[in-house]
Protein backbone atom coordinates (compact mmCIF):
# COMPACT_ATOMS: atom_id res chain seq x y z
CA UNK A 1 0.00 0.00 0.00
CA UNK A 2 1.02 3.58 -0.49
CA UNK A 3 1.62 5.96 2.38
CA UNK A 4 -0.58 8.91 1.48
CA UNK A 5 -1.73 11.20 4.28
CA UNK A 6 -5.11 9.85 5.39
CA UNK A 7 -8.12 11.80 6.65
CA UNK A 8 -8.58 9.72 9.85
CA UNK A 9 -4.98 10.50 10.77
CA UNK A 10 -5.43 14.18 10.07
CA UNK A 11 -8.52 14.02 12.33
CA UNK A 12 -6.39 12.32 14.99
CA UNK A 13 -3.85 15.14 14.79
CA UNK A 14 -6.63 17.72 15.11
CA UNK A 15 -7.87 15.89 18.22
CA UNK A 16 -4.33 15.90 19.64
CA UNK A 17 -4.10 19.63 18.91
CA UNK A 18 -7.27 20.12 20.95
CA UNK A 19 -5.88 18.16 23.93
CA UNK A 20 -4.61 21.24 25.81
CA UNK A 21 -8.17 22.59 25.66
CA UNK A 22 -9.35 19.49 27.54
CA UNK A 23 -6.52 19.25 30.05
CA UNK A 24 -3.87 21.75 31.00
CA UNK A 25 -2.17 19.22 33.29
CA UNK A 26 1.61 19.30 32.62
CA UNK A 27 1.68 15.56 33.30
CA UNK A 28 -0.92 14.78 30.63
CA UNK A 29 0.76 17.09 28.12
CA UNK A 30 4.14 15.50 28.85
CA UNK A 31 2.73 12.02 28.25
CA UNK A 32 1.01 13.14 25.04
CA UNK A 33 4.12 15.02 23.86
CA UNK A 34 6.31 11.95 24.44
CA UNK A 35 3.77 9.83 22.57
CA UNK A 36 4.09 12.19 19.59
CA UNK A 37 7.90 12.07 19.77
CA UNK A 38 7.81 8.27 19.84
CA UNK A 39 5.39 8.36 16.92
CA UNK A 40 8.05 10.19 14.87
CA UNK A 41 10.70 7.72 16.02
CA UNK A 42 8.49 4.75 15.14
CA UNK A 43 7.69 6.17 11.70
CA UNK A 44 11.37 6.72 10.96
CA UNK A 45 12.03 3.15 12.07
CA UNK A 46 9.14 1.93 9.94
CA UNK A 47 10.67 3.49 6.85
CA UNK A 48 13.73 1.24 7.03
CA UNK A 49 12.19 -1.78 8.77
CA UNK A 50 8.66 -1.92 7.43
CA UNK A 51 8.71 -0.13 4.11
CA UNK A 52 12.16 -1.21 2.94
CA UNK A 53 12.15 -4.52 4.84
CA UNK A 54 15.62 -4.13 6.42
CA UNK A 55 15.99 -5.59 9.92
CA UNK A 56 17.61 -2.52 11.45
CA UNK A 57 17.71 -1.93 15.21
CA UNK A 58 19.77 1.26 15.29
CA UNK A 59 16.85 3.59 15.96
CA UNK A 60 17.57 4.16 19.66
CA UNK A 61 21.12 5.23 18.77
CA UNK A 62 19.96 7.77 16.16
CA UNK A 63 17.30 8.99 18.58
CA UNK A 64 20.10 9.48 21.10
CA UNK A 65 22.43 11.03 18.53
CA UNK A 66 19.84 13.70 17.71
CA UNK A 67 19.14 14.32 21.38
CA UNK A 68 22.80 14.46 22.48
CA UNK A 69 23.79 16.70 19.56
CA UNK A 70 20.99 19.09 20.48
CA UNK A 71 21.71 18.90 24.21
CA UNK A 72 25.47 19.40 23.92
CA UNK A 73 25.25 22.24 21.40
CA UNK A 74 22.44 24.12 23.16
CA UNK A 75 23.25 23.44 26.83
CA UNK A 76 27.06 23.43 26.71
CA UNK A 77 27.80 25.78 23.80
CA UNK A 78 24.69 27.99 23.69
CA UNK A 79 24.00 27.23 20.03
CA UNK A 80 20.65 28.66 18.88
CA UNK A 81 17.89 26.31 17.72
CA UNK A 82 18.21 27.38 14.09
CA UNK A 83 21.74 25.95 14.17
CA UNK A 84 21.24 22.90 16.41
CA UNK A 85 18.34 21.55 14.35
CA UNK A 86 20.14 21.41 10.98
CA UNK A 87 23.33 20.16 12.65
CA UNK A 88 21.43 17.37 14.44
CA UNK A 89 19.64 16.36 11.23
CA UNK A 90 22.80 16.52 9.09
CA UNK A 91 24.79 14.52 11.64
CA UNK A 92 22.05 11.88 11.74
CA UNK A 93 22.11 11.70 7.94
CA UNK A 94 25.91 11.44 7.78
CA UNK A 95 26.26 8.87 10.59
CA UNK A 96 23.28 6.99 9.13
CA UNK A 97 25.02 6.82 5.74
CA UNK A 98 28.35 5.80 7.28
CA UNK A 99 26.75 3.02 9.32
CA UNK A 100 24.49 1.92 6.48
CA UNK A 101 27.23 1.47 3.92
CA UNK A 102 28.97 -1.44 5.69
CA UNK A 103 25.91 -2.64 7.63
CA UNK A 104 23.62 -3.02 4.64
CA UNK A 105 26.06 -5.29 2.87
CA UNK A 106 24.79 -7.95 5.24
CA UNK A 107 21.19 -9.06 5.50
CA UNK A 108 18.53 -10.22 7.94
CA UNK A 109 19.88 -11.59 11.20
CA UNK A 110 23.39 -10.19 10.63
CA UNK A 111 22.07 -6.72 9.82
CA UNK A 112 19.94 -6.85 12.97
CA UNK A 113 23.02 -7.76 15.02
CA UNK A 114 25.24 -5.05 13.51
CA UNK A 115 22.67 -2.31 14.06
CA UNK A 116 21.79 -3.52 17.55
CA UNK A 117 25.50 -3.51 18.41
CA UNK A 118 25.71 0.08 17.14
CA UNK A 119 22.88 1.06 19.48
CA UNK A 120 24.52 -0.64 22.44
CA UNK A 121 27.90 0.93 21.66
CA UNK A 122 26.25 4.35 21.49
CA UNK A 123 24.71 4.12 24.97
CA UNK A 124 27.92 2.63 26.41
CA UNK A 125 30.09 5.38 24.92
CA UNK A 126 27.91 8.29 26.07
CA UNK A 127 27.57 6.65 29.49
CA UNK A 128 31.36 6.41 29.81
CA UNK A 129 32.04 10.03 28.90
CA UNK A 130 31.28 12.16 31.94
CA UNK A 131 32.68 15.39 30.49
CA UNK A 132 30.74 17.07 27.78
CA UNK A 133 28.31 14.15 27.39
CA UNK A 134 27.46 14.00 31.09
CA UNK A 135 28.24 10.28 31.56
CA UNK A 136 25.59 8.15 33.26
CA UNK A 137 24.07 11.23 34.88
CA UNK A 138 23.21 12.72 31.51
CA UNK A 139 22.84 16.35 30.57
CA UNK A 140 20.67 18.77 32.49
CA UNK A 141 19.85 22.41 31.82
CA UNK A 142 18.89 21.94 28.18
CA UNK A 143 17.03 25.10 27.20
CA UNK A 144 13.44 24.83 25.95
CA UNK A 145 12.61 25.48 22.30
CA UNK A 146 13.53 29.09 21.65
CA UNK A 147 13.83 31.18 18.54
CA UNK A 148 14.80 34.83 18.43
CA UNK A 149 13.59 36.39 21.63
CA UNK A 150 10.79 33.85 22.15
CA UNK A 151 11.11 30.78 24.35
CA UNK A 152 8.63 27.91 24.89
CA UNK A 153 8.61 27.99 28.68
CA UNK A 154 5.20 26.43 29.32
CA UNK A 155 4.46 22.75 28.90
CA UNK A 156 1.63 23.65 26.52
CA UNK A 157 3.85 25.64 24.15
CA UNK A 158 6.42 22.82 24.18
CA UNK A 159 3.62 20.35 23.44
CA UNK A 160 2.44 22.37 20.45
CA UNK A 161 5.94 22.52 19.00
CA UNK A 162 6.24 18.75 19.30
CA UNK A 163 2.76 18.44 17.72
CA UNK A 164 3.90 20.56 14.74
CA UNK A 165 7.01 18.37 14.45
CA UNK A 166 4.91 15.20 14.47
CA UNK A 167 2.55 16.57 11.79
CA UNK A 168 5.52 17.61 9.63
CA UNK A 169 7.11 14.18 10.04
CA UNK A 170 3.89 12.36 9.18
CA UNK A 171 3.08 14.49 6.14
CA UNK A 172 6.63 14.40 4.80
CA UNK A 173 6.88 10.62 5.25
CA UNK A 174 3.49 10.21 3.54
CA UNK A 175 4.82 12.25 0.61
CA UNK A 176 8.04 10.26 0.45
CA UNK A 177 6.06 7.02 0.57
CA UNK A 178 3.90 8.05 -2.37
CA UNK A 179 6.91 9.11 -4.45
CA UNK A 180 9.43 7.09 -6.42
CA UNK A 181 11.63 7.05 -3.29
CA UNK A 182 8.85 5.16 -1.47
CA UNK A 183 8.24 2.81 -4.36
CA UNK A 184 11.94 1.92 -4.50
CA UNK A 185 11.92 1.31 -0.73
CA UNK A 186 8.96 -1.05 -1.09
CA UNK A 187 10.56 -2.75 -4.08
CA UNK A 188 13.53 -3.70 -1.88
CA UNK A 189 11.20 -5.34 0.61
CA UNK A 190 9.29 -7.31 -2.05
CA UNK A 191 12.08 -8.45 -4.38
CA UNK A 192 15.68 -7.30 -4.48
CA UNK A 193 16.13 -9.24 -7.73
CA UNK A 194 13.18 -7.36 -9.20
CA UNK A 195 14.57 -4.05 -7.91
CA UNK A 196 17.88 -4.74 -9.63
CA UNK A 197 15.95 -5.54 -12.82
CA UNK A 198 14.61 -1.98 -12.94
CA UNK A 199 18.10 -0.55 -12.43
CA UNK A 200 18.10 0.02 -8.67
CA UNK A 201 21.59 0.00 -7.16
CA UNK A 202 20.73 -1.96 -4.01
CA UNK A 203 23.49 -0.62 -1.78
CA UNK A 204 23.00 3.01 -2.81
CA UNK A 205 19.23 2.77 -2.40
CA UNK A 206 19.50 1.13 1.04
CA UNK A 207 22.05 3.66 2.25
CA UNK A 208 19.78 6.50 1.12
CA UNK A 209 16.72 5.04 2.84
CA UNK A 210 18.69 4.22 5.99
CA UNK A 211 20.09 7.77 6.14
CA UNK A 212 16.68 9.37 5.58
CA UNK A 213 15.14 7.22 8.32
CA UNK A 214 18.05 8.22 10.61
CA UNK A 215 17.15 11.88 9.99
CA UNK A 216 13.61 11.27 11.32
CA UNK A 217 15.04 9.47 14.35
CA UNK A 218 17.48 12.33 14.92
CA UNK A 219 14.60 14.80 14.60
CA UNK A 220 12.70 12.87 17.30
CA UNK A 221 15.85 13.15 19.47
CA UNK A 222 16.06 16.89 18.85
CA UNK A 223 12.44 17.35 19.97
CA UNK A 224 12.97 15.05 22.97
CA UNK A 225 15.97 17.02 24.25
CA UNK A 226 14.17 20.38 24.16
CA UNK A 227 10.87 18.91 25.36
CA UNK A 228 12.26 17.09 28.41
CA UNK A 229 15.22 19.46 28.95
CA UNK A 230 17.14 16.52 30.42
CA UNK A 231 18.63 13.43 28.77
CA UNK A 232 20.63 10.43 29.96
CA UNK A 233 21.89 7.22 28.30
CA UNK A 234 18.97 5.24 29.76
CA UNK A 235 16.57 7.28 27.59
CA UNK A 236 18.13 5.60 24.54
CA UNK A 237 18.74 2.10 25.81
CA UNK A 238 17.61 -1.36 24.78
CA UNK A 239 14.14 -0.76 26.25
CA UNK A 240 13.59 2.03 23.69
CA UNK A 241 14.71 -0.31 20.89
CA UNK A 242 12.16 -2.92 21.96
CA UNK A 243 9.42 -0.36 22.58
CA UNK A 244 9.78 1.15 19.10
CA UNK A 245 9.91 -2.25 17.41
CA UNK A 246 6.71 -3.14 19.31
CA UNK A 247 5.06 0.04 18.05
CA UNK A 248 5.97 -0.76 14.46
CA UNK A 249 4.98 -4.44 14.60
CA UNK A 250 1.75 -3.90 16.56
CA UNK A 251 0.67 -0.99 14.36
CA UNK A 252 1.53 -2.78 11.15
CA UNK A 253 4.99 -3.21 9.65
CA UNK A 254 5.18 -0.97 6.57
CA UNK A 255 1.84 0.69 7.30
CA UNK A 256 2.45 4.40 8.04
CA UNK A 257 -0.97 4.98 9.55
CA UNK A 258 -0.80 1.77 11.57
CA UNK A 259 2.61 2.61 12.96
CA UNK A 260 1.43 6.05 14.04
CA UNK A 261 -1.56 4.55 15.84
CA UNK A 262 0.64 1.78 17.32
CA UNK A 263 3.10 4.36 18.61
CA UNK A 264 0.45 6.51 20.22
CA UNK A 265 -1.31 3.54 21.86
CA UNK A 266 1.86 1.88 23.15
CA UNK A 267 3.20 5.21 24.44
CA UNK A 268 0.09 5.60 26.55
CA UNK A 269 0.08 2.00 27.76
CA UNK A 270 2.70 2.55 30.53
CA UNK A 271 0.44 5.24 32.00
CA UNK A 272 -2.30 2.65 32.43
CA UNK A 273 0.03 0.13 34.06
CA UNK A 274 2.18 2.45 36.15
CA UNK A 275 0.61 1.21 39.40
CA UNK A 276 1.89 -2.30 38.62
CA UNK A 277 5.67 -2.11 38.73
CA UNK A 278 7.41 -4.59 36.44
CA UNK A 279 4.31 -5.57 34.50
CA UNK A 280 5.07 -3.30 31.52
CA UNK A 281 7.62 -5.59 29.76
CA UNK A 282 5.25 -8.52 30.26
CA UNK A 283 2.47 -6.58 28.53
CA UNK A 284 4.71 -5.52 25.64
CA UNK A 285 6.09 -9.03 25.24
CA UNK A 286 2.64 -10.59 25.46
CA UNK A 287 1.21 -8.11 22.96
CA UNK A 288 4.05 -8.77 20.52
CA UNK A 289 3.56 -12.54 20.73
CA UNK A 290 -0.22 -12.24 20.27
CA UNK A 291 0.08 -9.85 17.34
CA UNK A 292 2.77 -11.89 15.57
CA UNK A 293 0.77 -15.09 15.99
CA UNK A 294 -2.74 -13.81 15.31
CA UNK A 295 -2.34 -10.62 13.27
CA UNK A 296 1.08 -10.80 11.63
CA UNK A 297 0.25 -7.88 9.35
CA UNK A 298 -0.46 -5.66 12.41
CA UNK A 299 -3.60 -4.38 14.09
CA UNK A 300 -4.47 -1.47 11.81
CA UNK A 301 -4.03 -3.35 8.50
CA UNK A 302 -6.11 -6.18 10.00
CA UNK A 303 -8.86 -3.74 10.97
CA UNK A 304 -8.68 -2.13 7.55
CA UNK A 305 -9.13 -5.47 5.81
CA UNK A 306 -12.36 -6.30 7.70
CA UNK A 307 -14.75 -4.65 5.17
CA UNK A 308 -12.98 -6.41 2.28
CA UNK A 309 -13.19 -9.75 4.07
CA UNK A 310 -16.87 -9.24 4.87
CA UNK A 311 -17.49 -8.30 1.23
CA UNK A 312 -15.80 -11.48 0.05
CA UNK A 313 -17.74 -13.55 2.57
CA UNK A 314 -21.00 -12.01 1.40
CA UNK A 315 -20.08 -12.62 -2.24
CA UNK A 316 -19.15 -16.26 -1.59
CA UNK A 317 -21.88 -18.78 -2.56
Amino acid sequence: MTMRASYPIMALFVALAALPLVTASPYHLTVAGLALIFAILAQGTNLIMGTAGQASFAHAAFFGLGAYTTAVLSAKFDFPLWLTLPIALCLSFVVGSLLAYPALRVKGFYLALVTLAFSEIFTSVVGEMPGVLGGTEGITGIPPFSLGGWSAESRMSKYYIVWVGAVLAYVSLARLGASHFGRVARSLRDSETGATAIGVNLIAAKVRIFAVSAVYMGFAGFLYAHFMQYISPTSFGFNVTILVVSMVVVGGLGDATGVLVGALVLSLLPQLTRDYVGVEPVIYGGLLIIIILLLPEGVVPALRSIPRRLQRKAAAP
Binding site: R186, G194, V212
Partner: protein
Protein backbone atom coordinates in the same frame (compact mmCIF):
# COMPACT_ATOMS: atom_id res chain seq x y z
CA UNK B 1 20.28 -4.31 -39.88
CA UNK B 2 22.90 -1.99 -38.36
CA UNK B 3 26.52 -2.91 -38.96
CA UNK B 4 27.70 -3.16 -35.37
CA UNK B 5 25.84 -5.48 -33.00
CA UNK B 6 24.01 -4.11 -29.98
CA UNK B 7 25.23 -7.09 -27.95
CA UNK B 8 28.15 -9.31 -28.64
CA UNK B 9 29.21 -12.44 -26.77
CA UNK B 10 32.70 -13.86 -27.26
CA UNK B 11 33.73 -17.22 -25.79
CA UNK B 12 31.46 -16.77 -22.78
CA UNK B 13 31.64 -19.54 -20.22
CA UNK B 14 30.59 -20.24 -16.66
CA UNK B 15 31.24 -23.21 -14.39
CA UNK B 16 29.66 -24.09 -11.08
CA UNK B 17 31.81 -26.37 -8.92
CA UNK B 18 33.87 -27.44 -11.94
CA UNK B 19 30.70 -28.30 -13.88
CA UNK B 20 30.48 -26.23 -17.05
CA UNK B 21 27.02 -24.67 -17.33
CA UNK B 22 27.93 -22.56 -20.33
CA UNK B 23 31.05 -22.89 -22.52
CA UNK B 24 32.52 -20.95 -25.41
CA UNK B 25 29.30 -19.23 -26.31
CA UNK B 26 29.55 -16.54 -28.94
CA UNK B 27 26.95 -14.71 -31.00
CA UNK B 28 25.92 -11.20 -31.98
CA UNK B 29 22.54 -9.55 -31.56
CA UNK B 30 21.44 -6.63 -33.74
CA UNK B 31 18.91 -3.87 -33.30
CA UNK B 32 15.39 -4.38 -34.57
CA UNK B 33 15.52 -8.17 -34.57
CA UNK B 34 13.96 -10.92 -32.47
CA UNK B 35 16.18 -13.78 -31.38
CA UNK B 36 15.27 -16.97 -29.60
CA UNK B 37 17.53 -18.99 -27.35
CA UNK B 38 16.32 -22.56 -27.24
CA UNK B 39 17.57 -25.90 -26.01
CA UNK B 40 16.54 -28.82 -23.88
CA UNK B 41 16.15 -28.49 -20.12
CA UNK B 42 19.49 -27.90 -18.44
CA UNK B 43 21.08 -26.62 -21.65
CA UNK B 44 22.21 -23.42 -19.87
CA UNK B 45 19.71 -20.97 -21.38
CA UNK B 46 18.73 -19.22 -18.14
CA UNK B 47 22.36 -19.25 -16.95
CA UNK B 48 23.35 -17.51 -20.18
CA UNK B 49 20.55 -14.98 -19.73
CA UNK B 50 21.75 -14.39 -16.15
CA UNK B 51 25.31 -13.90 -17.41
CA UNK B 52 24.20 -11.40 -20.06
CA UNK B 53 22.05 -9.43 -17.60
CA UNK B 54 24.71 -9.40 -14.87
CA UNK B 55 23.08 -11.75 -12.37
CA UNK B 56 25.99 -14.18 -12.42
CA UNK B 57 29.33 -13.18 -10.93
CA UNK B 58 32.59 -13.82 -12.70
CA UNK B 59 32.46 -15.58 -16.03
CA UNK B 60 35.01 -16.24 -18.72
CA UNK B 61 34.97 -14.59 -22.13
CA UNK B 62 33.62 -11.17 -22.83
CA UNK B 63 30.35 -9.37 -23.48
CA UNK B 64 30.08 -6.01 -25.20
CA UNK B 65 27.04 -3.76 -25.28
CA UNK B 66 27.18 -1.22 -28.10
CA UNK B 67 30.96 -1.72 -28.33
CA UNK B 68 31.50 -1.24 -24.58
CA UNK B 69 32.81 -4.15 -22.56
CA UNK B 70 30.32 -4.74 -19.76
CA UNK B 71 31.92 -7.67 -17.94
CA UNK B 72 32.53 -5.59 -14.81
CA UNK B 73 29.15 -3.88 -14.88
CA UNK B 74 26.58 -4.70 -12.22
CA UNK B 75 23.12 -5.90 -13.21
CA UNK B 76 21.60 -2.53 -12.32
CA UNK B 77 24.12 -0.64 -14.46
CA UNK B 78 23.27 -2.86 -17.42
CA UNK B 79 19.62 -1.84 -16.97
CA UNK B 80 20.57 1.83 -16.87
CA UNK B 81 22.44 1.30 -20.14
CA UNK B 82 19.39 -0.10 -21.89
CA UNK B 83 19.17 -3.82 -21.05
CA UNK B 84 15.95 -5.07 -19.44
CA UNK B 85 14.79 -8.55 -18.56
CA UNK B 86 12.04 -10.70 -17.14
CA UNK B 87 12.46 -13.85 -15.08
CA UNK B 88 11.43 -17.49 -15.31
CA UNK B 89 9.96 -17.08 -11.82
CA UNK B 90 8.45 -13.60 -11.90
CA UNK B 91 10.12 -11.03 -9.66
CA UNK B 92 7.30 -8.56 -9.17
CA UNK B 93 6.69 -6.29 -6.22
CA UNK B 94 3.77 -8.25 -4.81
CA UNK B 95 2.58 -5.69 -2.25
CA UNK B 96 2.33 -2.95 -4.87
CA UNK B 97 -0.42 -2.55 -7.42
CA UNK B 98 0.16 -3.48 -11.04
CA UNK B 99 0.33 0.22 -11.89
CA UNK B 100 2.94 0.91 -9.20
CA UNK B 101 5.02 -2.03 -10.45
CA UNK B 102 5.19 -0.46 -13.89
CA UNK B 103 5.81 3.01 -12.42
CA UNK B 104 8.82 1.49 -10.65
CA UNK B 105 10.10 0.38 -14.03
CA UNK B 106 10.70 4.00 -15.02
CA UNK B 107 13.49 4.09 -12.41
CA UNK B 108 16.33 4.82 -14.88
CA UNK B 109 14.50 7.94 -16.08
CA UNK B 110 13.21 9.39 -12.80
CA UNK B 111 14.21 13.01 -12.18
CA UNK B 112 12.40 13.83 -8.90
CA UNK B 113 14.66 14.81 -5.99
CA UNK B 114 13.90 14.30 -2.30
CA UNK B 115 13.52 18.07 -1.95
CA UNK B 116 10.97 18.27 -4.77
CA UNK B 117 9.01 15.44 -3.13
CA UNK B 118 9.08 16.96 0.36
CA UNK B 119 8.18 20.42 -0.89
CA UNK B 120 5.51 19.03 -3.23
CA UNK B 121 6.97 20.98 -6.15
CA UNK B 122 5.07 21.13 -9.43
CA UNK B 123 7.86 19.26 -11.20
CA UNK B 124 7.33 16.29 -8.82
CA UNK B 125 3.55 16.35 -9.22
CA UNK B 126 3.87 16.60 -13.01
CA UNK B 127 6.33 13.69 -13.15
CA UNK B 128 4.05 11.51 -11.00
CA UNK B 129 1.06 12.28 -13.24
CA UNK B 130 3.10 11.49 -16.35
CA UNK B 131 4.40 8.26 -14.80
CA UNK B 132 0.85 7.11 -14.00
CA UNK B 133 -0.30 7.82 -17.52
CA UNK B 134 2.65 6.10 -19.16
CA UNK B 135 2.41 3.12 -16.80
CA UNK B 136 -1.30 2.76 -17.58
CA UNK B 137 -0.51 2.87 -21.31
CA UNK B 138 2.07 0.11 -20.89
CA UNK B 139 -0.43 -2.00 -18.96
CA UNK B 140 -2.89 -1.53 -21.85
CA UNK B 141 -0.13 -2.52 -24.27
CA UNK B 142 0.35 -5.90 -22.57
CA UNK B 143 -3.40 -6.39 -22.11
CA UNK B 144 -3.44 -5.79 -18.36
CA UNK B 145 -5.03 -2.34 -18.36
CA UNK B 146 -8.00 -3.49 -16.31
CA UNK B 147 -5.82 -4.66 -13.45
CA UNK B 148 -3.96 -1.42 -12.72
CA UNK B 149 -5.13 -1.15 -9.12
CA UNK B 150 -4.88 -4.84 -8.24
CA UNK B 151 -1.99 -5.91 -5.98
CA UNK B 152 0.53 -7.75 -8.15
CA UNK B 153 0.66 -10.60 -5.63
CA UNK B 154 -2.99 -11.41 -6.28
CA UNK B 155 -2.77 -11.54 -10.07
CA UNK B 156 -2.98 -14.89 -11.90
CA UNK B 157 0.21 -16.31 -13.37
CA UNK B 158 -0.32 -15.23 -16.98
CA UNK B 159 -1.04 -11.65 -15.97
CA UNK B 160 2.02 -11.59 -13.73
CA UNK B 161 4.15 -12.55 -16.77
CA UNK B 162 2.63 -9.76 -18.84
CA UNK B 163 3.00 -7.28 -15.99
CA UNK B 164 6.69 -8.12 -15.74
CA UNK B 165 7.06 -7.48 -19.47
CA UNK B 166 5.34 -4.09 -19.00
CA UNK B 167 7.69 -3.24 -16.12
CA UNK B 168 10.71 -4.21 -18.22
CA UNK B 169 9.44 -2.03 -21.09
CA UNK B 170 9.08 0.89 -18.68
CA UNK B 171 12.86 0.99 -18.34
CA UNK B 172 12.84 1.84 -22.08
CA UNK B 173 15.36 -0.78 -23.11
CA UNK B 174 17.08 -1.16 -26.42
CA UNK B 175 17.69 -4.83 -25.58
CA UNK B 176 14.90 -6.88 -24.01
CA UNK B 177 15.65 -10.30 -22.53
CA UNK B 178 12.62 -12.49 -21.80
CA UNK B 179 12.91 -15.74 -19.85
CA UNK B 180 10.03 -18.05 -20.83
CA UNK B 181 7.50 -15.26 -21.36
CA UNK B 182 4.85 -17.68 -22.69
CA UNK B 183 4.74 -19.90 -19.60
CA UNK B 184 1.24 -19.62 -18.18
CA UNK B 185 -0.13 -17.75 -21.19
CA UNK B 186 -2.99 -19.10 -23.31
CA UNK B 187 -2.44 -19.59 -27.04
CA UNK B 188 -4.21 -16.30 -27.78
CA UNK B 189 -2.20 -14.45 -25.15
CA UNK B 190 1.06 -15.89 -26.53
CA UNK B 191 0.07 -14.77 -30.03
CA UNK B 192 -0.69 -11.29 -28.70
CA UNK B 193 2.71 -11.23 -26.96
CA UNK B 194 4.34 -12.29 -30.25
CA UNK B 195 2.65 -9.40 -32.07
CA UNK B 196 3.83 -7.00 -29.32
CA UNK B 197 7.43 -8.22 -29.70
CA UNK B 198 7.21 -7.75 -33.46
CA UNK B 199 5.94 -4.19 -32.97
CA UNK B 200 8.82 -3.49 -30.56
CA UNK B 201 11.43 -4.91 -32.91
CA UNK B 202 9.86 -2.83 -35.67
CA UNK B 203 10.63 0.20 -33.52
CA UNK B 204 14.28 -0.84 -33.32
CA UNK B 205 14.35 -2.88 -30.12
CA UNK B 206 16.40 -6.04 -29.99
CA UNK B 207 14.60 -8.94 -28.28
CA UNK B 208 16.13 -12.18 -27.01
CA UNK B 209 13.61 -14.78 -25.89
CA UNK B 210 14.33 -17.96 -23.97
CA UNK B 211 11.30 -20.10 -24.68
CA UNK B 212 10.10 -23.71 -24.80
CA UNK B 213 6.97 -22.87 -26.76
CA UNK B 214 8.21 -23.88 -30.23
CA UNK B 215 5.24 -22.58 -32.27
CA UNK B 216 5.82 -19.20 -30.59
CA UNK B 217 9.56 -19.30 -31.26
CA UNK B 218 9.16 -20.34 -34.88
CA UNK B 219 6.49 -17.69 -35.33
CA UNK B 220 8.36 -14.67 -33.98
CA UNK B 221 12.11 -15.34 -33.96
CA UNK B 222 14.10 -14.13 -36.96
CA UNK B 223 17.14 -15.96 -35.69
CA UNK B 224 17.45 -18.89 -33.34
CA UNK B 225 20.42 -19.87 -31.18
CA UNK B 226 20.33 -23.46 -30.00
CA UNK B 227 22.16 -24.44 -26.82
CA UNK B 228 22.87 -27.97 -25.71
CA UNK B 229 24.95 -28.86 -22.64
CA UNK B 230 26.03 -25.23 -22.39
CA UNK B 231 27.34 -24.97 -25.96
CA UNK B 232 25.92 -23.38 -29.07
CA UNK B 233 25.15 -26.23 -31.46
CA UNK B 234 23.36 -24.21 -34.11
CA UNK B 235 22.25 -20.73 -35.02
CA UNK B 236 20.38 -19.23 -37.91
CA UNK B 237 16.89 -18.84 -39.31
CA UNK B 238 14.14 -21.21 -38.30
CA UNK B 239 14.53 -23.23 -41.53
CA UNK B 240 18.26 -23.79 -41.03
CA UNK B 241 17.88 -24.67 -37.38
CA UNK B 242 15.00 -27.05 -37.95
CA UNK B 243 17.05 -28.98 -40.49
CA UNK B 244 20.26 -29.10 -38.48
CA UNK B 245 20.81 -32.75 -37.53
CA UNK B 246 22.38 -31.82 -34.16
CA UNK B 247 19.32 -29.77 -33.28
CA UNK B 248 16.96 -32.50 -34.35
CA UNK B 249 18.87 -34.89 -32.17
CA UNK B 250 19.20 -32.58 -29.19
CA UNK B 251 15.92 -30.79 -29.14
CA UNK B 252 13.55 -30.39 -32.03
CA UNK B 253 13.64 -34.07 -32.73
CA UNK B 254 12.30 -34.71 -29.26
CA UNK B 255 9.49 -32.24 -29.85
CA UNK B 256 8.60 -33.67 -33.21
CA UNK B 257 8.69 -37.21 -31.90
CA UNK B 258 6.64 -36.02 -28.95
CA UNK B 259 4.17 -34.32 -31.23
CA UNK B 260 3.87 -37.33 -33.51
Amino acid sequence: MSKSPILSLADVGKSFDAVAAVSNVGFDLFEGRIYALIGPNGAGKTTLLNIISGYVGRYSGSITLRDQTIDNWTASRRVLEGMARTFQITQLFDHMTALENVMCGFHPHITQSLASVLLGLRSFMAEERALRLRAQNLLETVGAGGYANEPAGLLPFGLRRRLEVARALATQPSLLLLDEPCAGLSGAEASELGRLLQRLSGQGMCVLVVEHNMPFVLGVAEEIVVLDAGEVIAKGGSGEVRNDPRVIEAYLGEVEHGAA
